[in-house]
């Protein structure tokens, strides 16, 4: 425990690649989803509590800079869920023993990146057309 062993990779001098970037993004989105999940619990509780509390929430989130922040946070949550879901499938395929070679790891990585952006954009488009945030 007190033994100072060298750490690898040395992040300061390590050139980021797609694979390592997506790996850490999986962790970051996972942490963000944990926070988002906590807010989802709060939303369900407020829904059970009654219309007064819900109105407070909507009044608070409904104007000015807070509205903008809530909207941004919402789409960070949506992107995190879409990305973590797709990259999670990638991980499960790896766990089954497929696609572990470098060309396939890059190919599946780009597929996940493109699909995450496209699906998040489609969900945002649907929200704009439907009128709901």
């Amino acid at each position: 425990m007190a033994v100072k062993r060298p750490l690898s990779p040395h992040l300061q001098v390590y050139r980021p690649q797609l694979t390592s970037t997506l790996s850490i993004l999986h962790r970051i989105t996972g942490l963000l989803l944990s926070l988002g999940g906590t807010l989802l619990v709060a939303w369900v509780l407020i829904l059970a509590q009654g219309p007064d509390h819900h109105e407070h929430l909507q009044a608070w989130a409904g104007g000015g800079i807070v509205k903008w922040l809530v909207c941004a946070g919402f789409y960070v949550f949506v992107f995190s869920l879409v990305y973590h879901l797709l990259n999670g499938i990638r991980h499960l395929v790896w766990d089954a023993g497929y696609g572990l070679d470098i060309p396939n790891a890059y190919r599946s990585g780009w597929v996940v990146v493109v699909l995450s952006v496209v699906i998040t954009a489609l969900l945002a488009l649907r929200a704009m057309i439907g009128g709901a945030a």
Binding site: V41, V44, A48, L85, L92
Partner: protein, 126 residues
Amino acid sequence: MSLQTPLGRVRGLGSAREGVAHWWAQRVSAVLLLPLSIWFLSWVLPVLGQPYSDARVFVAQPLNAFLLLTFMLALIYHALLGVQVVIEDYLHTRWLEVSLQVAIKLIAFLAALATAFALIRIVLGA
């Protein structure tokens, strides 16, 4: 005080035979979350911004409430397993690590309870 290194102490004892349980639990909850997340993105996302009565009517439907409960419990469990590993990996101050490991378990337990109570209350229409 022993001069033996920690590695020397455990060498030859074999594994503790419990590391795989965590690994499996994370994968099984992930597989469960695949269809539930697709359902959540397709159907629940628009409801989050709706007025109270519309949102409540949606959640009060038994099937929706059941799927939302399953989704949220699986999410809380999967998140607990994930955050646990993140703390193990990055926090090396012993007291802080142990405190946070206990804290996330309490938070997950309370979140699961709150979700179940809230959803049951909404379905029963109290």
